[in-house]
Symmetry: D2
Subunit: 127 residues, 4 copies
């Protein structure tokens, strides 16, 4: 896999949370998370920050997968549409625009084929 990110297999938030990549290719990233008690807020629902995190990760992976430059997220805007308490969350990210100095990606997050969160992640080139 051609990607400027390193340490996929090592210590990082995604491994800590159990966030698993399913597919990373040009202009498309897909991943999943099997919900556990550690992903929830005190009411027992999956914490909103989990959706923001999943989106941030796979948009960043996509932005850095190919092409020139290293990109980091500068804004994450996530809407939470429905609550989830268990099962598997699927994330799919695609670029809205890939510019030289910035990229804008969107991520759709679903649970049992129902859309539960949508996210836009803006990334800026740092190298």
């Amino acid at each position: 896999m051609e990607n400027k990110y390193t340490n996929f297999a090592g210590d990082n938030l995604d491994n800590f949370l159990g966030h698993e990549m399913i597919e990373i290719k040009e202009d498309y990233v897909e991943s999943k998370l099997v919900v556990t008690k550690d992903h929830k807020q005190p009411m027992g629902l999956v914490h909103g920050g989990i959706y923001s995190t999943l989106a941030e990760t796979i948009c960043s992976y996509g932005a850095n997968f190919s092409g020139e430059g290293v990109f980091v997220g500068v804004n994450n805007n996530t809407d939470f549409l429905s609550s989830v308490t268990d099962g598997e969350i699927i994330c799919k990210a695609e670029p809205i625009k890939k510019g030289k100095s910035f990229q804008l990606w969107e991520c759709n997050i679903s649970h049992n084929d129902k859309l539960v969160a949508v996210s836009k992640v803006r990334l800026s080139r740092i190298q």
Copy 2:
């Protein structure tokens, strides 16, 4: 503490991440996170999703601390201003508007007294 949230001490994302409340009172919540390897993305920087998560939590805590109703986050918009690799992150949240059916809170996140992320969290009343 008067708060409709429960299970603060039990299994949840904040405990899993090590997110510690410092102060929760009406119209103000403060918290901290001591950065570990588990909070980072593959480049070694604190993952953007961490800032979104911290903001989501303390804005939710604030929105549910007093008054009528139960509120859940429906949108989280976080800007990442500077990168952090270690040390302690401090979060401070205050309401922008507390309406009957929704609340809008903002959260400023700093590291060594430097602002590193800002977030707006919109919450909607569900009960």
Copy 3:
């Protein structure tokens, strides 16, 4: 046309700007704006607020076109992707989620078939 909005033809911002509806149906709204000097910022580019305004309008029209309730915009998040100096701007809006108490719509704005802005508009039911 079944729509709870009134005064389409009278005094309002859209008529003032020259924003023309092309199609309003369930789950889809399309409109256009022919750029004039009055739509620009001092550098000669179409003002970002124009894209936000176009999106706000057609997402509101779509949200109020059918079904129960009256919805008003509570958040408008617009990304500007490319600059425009003249010609015709085309806007297309579709719902991401239509709930009982809120709706979330997205609007894609293009110029000569190139995407120049994207917007998400959240609407809350007030009646």
Copy 4:
């Protein structure tokens, strides 16, 4: 006034809408709009796009007022808190961060001393 913007007095959206600058200085811009029928949506309320536009303008003015570079808005995120039907709208903008390649500004918009909208505008350096 030291500002890279030109054509303040000529044809542009702000003059067309009647948006008047009150004060532009380093790290602070203040402006006002006297509401007319041309600023409204069909229900008779000030159109959400007006708040987005006012914020976009004064944050852009602030970002370009001093220092190096020319900055243009790339994202406008505006929350509408209360409706307005007439009178005078006051806008106040301040920077959250002024970086070399981007700036993030916030704008608070009030009516009769009540906060009616808040906005964050991200600007990217183009020259």
